[in-house]
Symmetry: C2
Subunit: 477 residues, 2 copies
């Protein structure tokens, strides 16, 4: 694709903005060489790309505030970015916008284990938060699949989860406070390290707001004592309905595993071919992990086994060693790689009530046959966060469009049964036009008014989250 | 005290309002007989009393909406009330206001243990929520001292905690959704039973908003599997500093007890005289409770014992039976009764960083001597929620005023060290004038603007939370 060539006016404006930023920020913090800004043209939703006006890599909260103040004066849109792993296009720039990358702000600022918190800069990766405290027996609970790369700032923007959500909750349940810089360059502290902060609690509004309200530069996170040990059990069933009923029975019985992962037949088959984890040939597979002391693990697995056996499983394999545990998880963890090997795929991210699981899987099966595209389901069954993978052939004309239509139908189904459009990937640009399936015009108007308060000129991560038409007047488009 | 007699105009207006409400609500739901409204003249802050214009006891969310709509049209202030156990005057009426009592709305609407939630009406008492699910092995975690009487609606208004906060969090951490009726009579659903709700998360703003934004009529609460067992250990020390250091070391070591209660010498002595629980004669006493399977309990208590012994305790008594556990808790649970026996007292409620505990206790001791009033400290040491009890003699002229001044100084100290004015009792009328110690004018203005959005006429629980002067223009006063 040939991008249109910028005209003289655009070039002059860009030069003026970059020179103002260069005057106040360290020289390494302002990048406008197209060879260097290329890495910031897209995020994890790599089908969409656009070169930004410039890339800013500030090193401190004060630099972020300075940069935002100038951008506001110049009316330049700003796209905040952590590590750029967003799957919904949350960090995708527009050509008139600067990328505000937090990657250099990755320090641990304070570790206070007596008060069970850590304060980090927002560019720090998820896994390295645990890395900073694990020597002393603590960990940070939310664990998105991308945890080696993804930044805490992005986790907060999307309210990310992971396999451990069932027991420990998602980001919002483990976030104690943030330092937020508004588009006006004001630095605001919201929440804080102690359990009770004064005044109204605006932290929930910030967490999951997808960079629409401000730029989070620091975060205070709850860290938890590490459990003594953990052990998974693998349970195979001959139908999705029975596997779903087994999950419901386990939770109703008062057992609280740390993870319940659900895979359907297409997913099992692909993972097995790829990873040779020894998965049984069946319709549905659960991987249930419990944790605690050895005695507690034994007790919980015994109770889970007893409940599962009432549902007539085709296989029930309790891990007896570290090596067996690793093998059980191997298949699940390679699910995305396995899919990529067979075909192109689109990874969806919707949530549903756990109890609606059998119905939703049945309807997805019918839709999949209707569109003639395979769908593999891998699922955090504990908290109802689905990740259906739609397989398609990117080289076959029309296949991508069919895939997008099927994806939209599946997400509409999630909303219909009482769930919602996004569990942890966010709306971004990917699902902005689907918002109408979940929200009335009044609902969206109310959400946009919240943005009006924080960002009256709509310069922060514009043209995302809300349907383009609904936000057009506010964006001046 | 002789109340001024109402004039003819006031009487006529009252009659008109009551008759409009009677026309649309069941007759038992509208009370204006002064003999019957007397029970609603005050709440747990019983030093302040005022007869309301009338009392409404609706039976459904629709009736609440109808009542609020009429009150708004008539411009009658509305004071929502759960069980009236507020210690900060949160449910205190004014003479021109109606009390909106939720006590009749106490039903369980839905129990879904597979999805781990219960939906109740807001007038249901805290303890009876657990009552509804304990037969199946679940419980509702927040446990304020008044849990036998206090209502879930009030718990949400004040973001209440309890001894179990350290492990399970406060109300906001266990609340999934609410049905809120705005002053305009609009019924709004915020959040919901599934882990991920769509859109911006306004639940945090509602929880802890002290009836300023709307009336919560239903709540969706997280219920948790009950632990197998629990056991306390009693540890005495010869100084507050050492006891504080021991708490910090336990948490830093990665042990997470369900409760850590801290009592200082005046409190220990009063409790012991009253309850004869066999407490040692020492400066500071910790009651630490752990829970889990028998093996897990043994393991945790062993680790706690090992850490405590490094701090040279004067006594370390691990419970070996149900009877011993009950005896250990007996003294702590009778703390308030024990204090009331010696003297009149005022119970404060501030929060501090746990690590500031020794410093704060030392300063409180100095202040106590300065004012010549005894202070006993009992303290949820886990989450930094202090409850200093100031002892005074209500019959001695000037003593109450001295007590109030000392209380204000202690709360200012909490703010100074990084904590805040209220842990769970709320600001109400008790602490509204102290808000300036914690918030700047801009902070309060921002909080009042949030109220403007929900309640533009300032009819909901007016003249509370904010300093009277700051809110005067908005209240038309």
């Amino acid at each position: 694709m040939q991008l249109p060539r910028p005209n003289a006016e655009v070039i002059a404006r860009k030069a003026a903005i970059v020179s103002r930023l260069r005057a106040v920020l360290p020289s390494a913090a302002v990048i406008d060489d197209p060879a260097e800004t290329r890495a910031y043209e897209c995020d994890g939703l790599s089908a969409y790309r656009c070169p930004p006006l410039a890339v800013l890599l500030p090193g401190t909260t004060a630099e972020v505030a300075t940069a935002l103040k100038i951008c506001r004066e110049e009316r330049v849109p700003v796209v905040p970015r952590g590590s750029g792993t967003s799957l919904s296009g949350g960090a995708l720039p527009t050509s008139d916008a600067v990328i505000l990358g937090l990657g250099r702000m990755n320090r641990v600022l304070e570790t206070d284990l007596a008060n069970r918190f850590i304060r980090v800069e927002a560019g720090r990766t998820n896994l390295s938060v645990t890395g900073a405290v694990e020597g002393e027996g603590f960990f940070y609970a939310p664990d998105p699949s991308s945890q080696l790369a993804c930044a805490i700032g992005g986790n907060i923007a999307m309210n990310s989860g992971g396999a451990h959500c069932l027991k420990y909750g998602v980001t919002t349940n483990n976030l104690l406070g943030v330092t937020l810089v508004t588009m006006a360059g004001e630095v605001v502290e919201i929440g804080g390290p102690w359990m009770e902060a004064g005044g109204l609690d605006l932290l929930g509004v910030i967490c999951g707001s997808e960079g629409q309200l401000g730029v989070v530069t620091e975060a205070v996170l709850r860290v938890l004592p590490k459990p003594e040990g953990a052990r998974p059990v693998l349970i195979g069933f001959n139908s999705n309905e029975v596997a779903g009923a087994c999950v419901a029975d386990i939770i109703r019985a008062g057992v609280l595993p740390v993870a319940i992962e659900f895979m359907d037949r297409p997913c099992i088959r692909a993972c097995e071919e790829f990873a040779k984890a020894g998965y049984p040939d069946c319709e549905a597979l659960l991987i249930i992990e419990v944790e605690g002391s050895p005695a507690e693990i034994d007790d919980q697995l015994a109770r889970i086994g007893e409940i599962a056996r009432r549902h007539d499983p085709v296989e029930l394999r309790e891990s007896r060693s570290e090596a067996e545990s690793a093998r059980i998880w191997l298949g699940r963890k390679s699910a995305f790689g396995a899919m990529g090997r067979i075909n192109d795929y689109m990874c969806l991210d919707g949530t549903i009530p756990v109890s609606a699981l059998p119905h939703v899987l049945k309807r997805i099966g019918e839709m999949s046959r209707g569109y003639g595209l395979d769908v593999a389901n891998v699922f955090h069954a504990g908290d109802g966060n689905m990740h259906p993978l739609i397989l398609f052939n990117a080289n076959k004309p029309g296949d991508l469009e069919k895939c997008e239509a099927l994806g939209a139908d599946i997400l509409r189904l999630c909303v219909e049964v009482g769930g919602c459009l996004s569990g942890e990937h966010g709306v971004g640009i990917e699902k902005r036009d689907l918002m109408v399936a979940q929200f009335t015009e009044e609902d969206m108007e109310a959400q946009m008014r919240v943005k009006d308060v924080f960002d009256p000129d709509w310069l922060l991560n514009p043209a995302k989250v809300f349907p383009l038409e609904a936000s057009a007047a506010r964006r001046g488009a």
